[in-house]
């Protein structure tokens, strides 16, 4: 944000149409020369091919495969369409599915109700002029640079049954990562640890961008700090609020690394992303079935991606 001037000068686009250099040459429309046209085409087509080929095409193929009974090994001619049977199976006769949905929702609930608000709360505190604010910030977002896989290992030292800190202090013998009754909570604490720092960082940047005169005006009107925050600052930060919401949803949907390093998403730690992976790379390769699970993930995330895009792009237009 420091690096970015306040608002993009260029406001209207996509009205011109055709292959022309715009705005710079308002009035006189310059057609690109033949060679330049080639260069421009290549500059877009090469990256586009990569992204379409390795991201969008596989996503579409996954949707198609979810309606088949392919085993993933045989030739492509072995693919038979079986309608929505995979979806029916996922919903009705696949035992880990319901725990996985429950865990994903639990993930979302904990991140949304505790970790995200706490990160936002810390950001509002750190936004005040206080000595050592940088020091506090640094400590709180340190976990953000660590991979989730590593987070799993670092917390193992605290959670381990025989050598962990918690059991060492309290003399208990709970297997925090292994016991299916508690392990999802252990994972949630570890992943909130990272999420809080991330949210704090994003939100703090948003707060720094709020026009100080807004706050001044509110305090002159006699509003308390809390009141100012809720009726002035929070509404102004609507775009960043939405972005944080979407990031929270997508993070809780993608929760994978942490459970995979702990026990590959079994025994109390079922999450949808781990089920997809188990069905594909695990011993039983059920491609159509795994794809159906993957499509469910895809649909949920596309809804939120759309919300995200429309938010950031509307911002962009301003």
């Amino acid at each position: 944000m420091t690096d970015l001037p306040a608002s993009p000068q260029q406001t209207s686009h996509s009205r011109g149409g055709g292959l022309r250099a715009s705005a710079a040459t308002t009035g006189r429309v310059t057609k690109l020369a033949g060679r330049d046209r080639m260069v421009v085409a290549l500059m877009v087509v090469v990256p586009l091919t990569l992204v379409i080929g390795l991201v969008w095409l596989p996503a579409i193929v996954t949707v198609v495969l979810s309606f088949t009974n392919w085993d993933g090994i045989g030739p492509l001619s072995d693919i038979h369409f079986i309608g929505a049977k995979n979806y029916d199976d996922v919903l009705n006769i696949y035992p880990p599915f319901h725990p996985a949905v429950r865990n994903n929702l639990l993930f979302l609930a904990v991140l949304f109700l505790f970790a995200t608000p706490f990160g936002m709360f810390l950001a509002t505190l750190l936004d005040k002029e206080i000595r050592g604010s940088r020091l506090y910030q640094t400590a709180i977002y340190l976990p953000v640079v660590l991979s989730l896989a590593l987070v799993g290992f670092i917390w193992q030292l605290i959670y381990s049954r025989d050598q962990g800190l918690i059991n060492g202090i309290f003399g208990t013998s709970v297997d925090w990562y292994g016991d299916p009754k508690v392990n999802i909570w252990a994972v949630l604490v570890a992943s909130s640890w990272k999420h809080v720092g991330y949210v704090m960082l994003l939100y703090l940047a948003g707060l720094k961008g709020v026009d100080p005169s807004l706050r001044e005006a509110a305090s002159m009107d006699g509003a308390t700090e809390v009141r100012t925050y809720f009726s002035v600052v929070f509404p102004v930060l609507r775009p960043i609020n939405i972005i944080i919401l979407v990031i929270t949803v997508i993070e809780s949907l993608r929760a994978f690394d942490l459970v995979w390093v702990i026990n590959k998403g079994r025994n109390g730690l079922e999450v949808i992303s781990a089920l997809v992976t188990q069905n594909i790379v695990g011993e039983a390769s059920r491609i159509g079935f795994g794809s159906a699970l993957a499509v469910l993930m895809l649909i949920i995330s596309l809804v939120f991606i759309t919300i995200y895009l429309s938010t950031v792009m509307r911002e962009d237009q301003r």
Binding site: A21, V44, K128, S147, A149, F153, W193, V196, L202
Partner: protein, 306 residues
């Protein structure tokens, strides 16, 4: 954004008012500091605990328990390094991360340049296509990608598996494809703020599109490129999923994915696990402390603009 301070011009009267308010608010300030200090220490604790125990001898801690002091040693590091073969895995991480970051920045800056420089009907669609790709759940692309990678042959000098699967090339490509979206988004926004007159002048001088991109735009984009490079090195180094599923030989795993192998070997010796974890964390911690400003601005560039 971290340097921004709320410098509001204050008159004498207001300052006096502020001072009295500050005096009254002092107990609150102390409370605030206490709270933040407690939170900060709590947040640091897990990492500090890992560092602490990585320097302790296993036989000592197994006798005295972990809630004790003593048994200091550096042997865990030597041991962990050798047993987990970190030299090899760090080299693997480098083989994957360095080309992927360079390629990501190169490709995304090209797209961003075109999207920012020209106004076309499909600009918004393109930007959406790239940005959304970054947010899709990776697991939902796995099957077709896996199959695709298995059918694409590579000469043996490029990959000893003879195919894109289980090769560094495959990982570089998939990481690049995923990260290009985010970088394109950030760079497009930045490039749109560059003054248009620059290009007019360049065109008068007869500079073609490529020169406008490479010699004019890219040098001006150093700040966001530096921020994105820092962020991307961290993300791709931390990437776990693709390496786990697209690599089948363990000796080609990058550091982050090789953690999983390390777990089985060190299962009973948590001091060794700590040492391993600290070793793996070092590159990202170095980035964190040395390039903090770049890292933070990279992260927030995408979410906030101006």
């Amino acid at each position: 954004m971290t340097t921004l301070s709320n410098s509001i011009g204050t008159t004498g009267d207001e300052q006096i008012g502020k001072r009295t308010r500050r005096r009254r608010a002092r107990p609150l300030r102390v409370l605030l500091h206490c709270f933040l200090a407690v939170v900060a220490l709590t947040w640091l604790f897990p990492v500090a605990w890992a560092v602490l125990n990585s320097f302790r001898d296993y036989t000592y801690t197994s006798v005295h328990g972990y809630v004790s002091l003593g048994g200091w040693t550096v042997h865990n590091y030597v041991d962990a390094w050798q047993r987990a073969d970190f030299t090899k895995h760090f080299i693997n991480s480098f083989y994957i991360t360095a080309p992927a970051v360079v390629l990501t920045l190169f490709l995304s800056s090209m797209v961003a340049f075109v999207l920012a420089r020209f106004s076309w009907r499909f600009n918004l669609v393109m930007l959406g296509l790239f940005t959304a790709a970054n947010l899709l759940p990776q697991q939902s692309l796995l099957i077709p990608l896996f199959r695709l990678y298995r059918t694409i042959p590579l000469p043996l000098w490029m990959s000893d598996s003879g195919q894109l699967l289980d090769s560094y090339w495959g990982l570089i490509l998939v990481n690049t494809a995923f990260q290009t979206g985010f970088c394109t988004f950030v760079l497009t926004n930045y490039m749109k703020t560059l003054p248009r007159e620059l290009y007019e002048a360049a065109m008068v001088d007869g500079a073609g599109i490529w020169r406008q991109y490479w010699q004019l735009t890219m040098p001006l984009c150093r700040p966001p490129l530096a921020a994105l490079a820092t962020l991307q090195v961290t993300w791709i180094y931390n990437e776990f999923f693709w390496a786990t599923v697209l690599m089948s030989s363990g000796d080609k795993f990058p550091v982050t994915s090789s953690l999983n192998n390390l777990r089985g070997e060190f299962f009973t010796d948590l001091n060794l696990v700590s040492a391993g974890a600290v070793i793996v964390a070092i590159p990202t911690l170095v980035i964190f402390f040395a390039l903090q400003k770049q890292f933070v601005s990279g992260l927030t560039l995408g979410a906030n603009k101006g």
